[in-house]
């Protein structure tokens, strides 16, 4: 690994738009949690998908994970909200090993936007309400409307998801993630399945949301220009290993 400089993150912008605050016990108003991985590895069938990766992401930072196909970028991201189990090493969330956090609580705090929207059958409103409903909370129509307005889809609540375009579906999936009021956002190639115009719109939407909410964000992208537009810092992976981490331009030039 060439460097482990922790660059200054993008300055958070105060939240001022619609959305949700975390509700219930333990739902702290503080935004932007800290990730730290220590010698994190995941081995499947003898293949080291993630190999001894140690990196820290301070609160409110946007970190881009770049590298060629098969580098372990998505596998690394999935370890951060424990969709997969590390074979060795650990992930610290706000300084504590995340194995001490109930997976449901961890995933509520660490939202994820995937490459494909994977909307559930039903209406847009049903999708937005899914996360809070898992905790026994029902969103009001106004709360759903505010979330949809934030992603640029006002008056979409009653629509059936089958009629949405790829870009609209990804916006709904972002609103659905925001409905859990997460403190961090993991984005796995969120625009790679979209056309250029939709991709730029989603990119700007994600960037606006993480800034206004001061959320920590780790974004996997193969698009260097996108990484440069969105992140102040990047980590370069190859064959599961961390090759370089540091200021975005230095890392992209190194790749």
């Amino acid at each position: 690994m060439r460097e482990t400089t922790f660059a200054t993150s993008a300055q958070p912008i105060a939240a001022e738009q619609g959305g949700l605050e975390p509700r219930g016990a333990g739902a702290a108003a503080r935004r932007g949690l800290t990730f730290e991985t220590r010698q994190l590895s995941r081995v499947v069938g003898g293949k080291r998908l993630v190999d001894d990766v140690s990196v820290a992401v301070p609160p409110g930072e946007v970190l881009a994970v770049v590298g060629p196909s098969g580098a372990g970028k998505s596998s690394f991201l999935r370890l951060l909200n424990r969709l997969d189990e590390p074979t060795s090493g650990s992930v610290l969330v706000d300084g504590a090993d995340y194995r001490a956090i109930a997976p449901r609580d961890l995933r509520r705090r660490v939202g994820m936007v995937m490459q494909t929207a994977y909307l559930f059958p039903g209406s847009v409103a049903d999708n937005i309400a899914f996360g809070p409903r898992q905790r026994g909370e029902e969103l009001s129509p106004e709360e759903i409307g505010a979330l949809l307005a934030r992603v640029g889809l006002p008056a979409y609540a009653a629509r059936d998801v089958t009629g949405l375009s790829g870009g609209e579906a990804q916006r709904v999936s972002i609103a659905r993630t925001l409905a859990n009021a997460p403190e961090a956002l993991l984005a796995d190639e969120p625009t790679s399945a979209l056309d250029e115009a939709s991709a730029r719109g989603i990119e700007e939407l994600i960037l606006g949301i993480i800034r206004e909410r001061a959320m920590t964000c780790v974004i996997v992208t193969h698009n260097k220009a996108q990484a440069e537009r969105m992140a102040a810092r990047a980590m370069l992976m190859e064959s599961g290993r961390l090759i370089a981490v540091g200021p975005i331009r230095e890392v992209l030039n190194a790749g």
């Binding site: 499947v44 069938g45 293949k47 998908l49 196909s69 098969g70 580098a71 372990g72 970028k73 998505s74 596998s75 909200n81 424990r82 969709l83 997969d84 189990e85 194995r99 997976p103 449901r104 609580d105 995933r107 509520r108 939202g111 994820m112 995937m114 494909t116 994977y118 559930f120 059958p121 899914f130 996360g131 898992q134 905790r135 999936s173 659905r176 993630t177 859990n180």
Partner: protein, 269 residues
């Protein structure tokens, strides 16, 4: 010696073998017909026909020997049938560790509960000659329900990994994340049995009713009893389908609520 052997084979058995030969000829003709349309099931059909005939002759001989046995012997025969059914159903779950005990638990629970209830209410006599054939019908249908539910659940979950993991990523517990797939798998396993109940008497008159009428029972009573049997088959299938899917659901996730029932992930970047 040959004369003794010939004497031992009664006339009705010879008749049965002749009828079986006729049935095999018809099946062979269908296999040849399939071959003309490039559907090649020759080997599988030959093995199935040979196995079916040998198994049924063997069962007949065992039943003849045990006809006057006690309930315990009948229970042991049914238990052996459940075990064989579990091995058969587990073939649909190739590659899944512990599939046989999983299927056995589901089939034994579904068919066992129903057979026990029928014995307790007097719907089913404990005579081996009645208990084993009726019990086998229930076990066979439980086996089919088990295989259908398990196969459907696995196919649905592995085919919708993205949706399931999206649910998990949004804070759903595993049961909620796969709830639609549990419902569809149990429903899929029940559908043939529901259709069977709907078509009872209209499309087919099952063997139990036909046998009772041949042996002199009232046709109305025979019809009602047949309904009871098919309803019990539905109940056994429902219990079996539900249990196998719930057991599979438990194995589909790690203790940390990670989906582990999926295809190889080595290709993921």
């Amino acid at each position: 010696m040959p004369a003794d052997l010939l004497n031992a084979v009664s006339a009705d058995v010879m008749l049965g073998l002749a009828q079986a030969a006729g049935a095999i000829v018809l099946c062979a003709a269908v296999v040849v017909l399939c071959g003309w349309f490039s559907v090649h099931v020759e080997r599988e059909a030959a093995v199935s026909i040979a196995r079916g005939l040998v198994q049924m002759v063997t069962v007949g001989m065992v039943l003849a020997a045990l006809l006057k046995g006690v309930l315990l012997i009948g229970a042991l025969i049914l238990l052996a049938m459940m075990l064989a059914a579990a091995f058969t159903a587990a073939r649909r779950l190739q590659g899944m560790a512990g599939a046989v005990p999983l299927c056995f638990c589901a089939i034994a629970a579904g068919s066992g509960v129903v057979i026990a209830a029928m014995l307790a209410t007097g719907t089913l006599k404990s005579d081996i000659a009645v208990l084993v054939p009726v019990g086998s019908m229930i076990i066979a249908n439980a086996m089919n329900a088990c295989a259908q539910a398990a196969e459907r659940f696995r196919a649905d979950v592995t085919g919708h990994v993205g949706e399931v993991e999206t649910g998990l990523a949004l804070g759903a517990d595993p049961a909620a994340a796969v709830a639609p797939h549990v419902r569809s798998a149990v429903y899929a396993s029940l559908l043939p049995r529901l259709d069977m109940l709907k078509s009872l008497g209209l499309v087919w008159i099952p063997g139990v009713m036909a046998g009772m009428m041949v042996s002199g029972a009232s046709p109305v009573y025979a019809g009602i009893y047949q309904f009871v049997i098919v309803a019990m088959i539905l109940a056994a299938s429902g219990i079996t389908g539900l249990i196998v899917v719930l057991l599979m659901r438990g194995r589909a996730f790690s203790p940390a609520a990670q989906l582990i029932l999926r295809r190889a992930e080595a290709a993921r970047s």
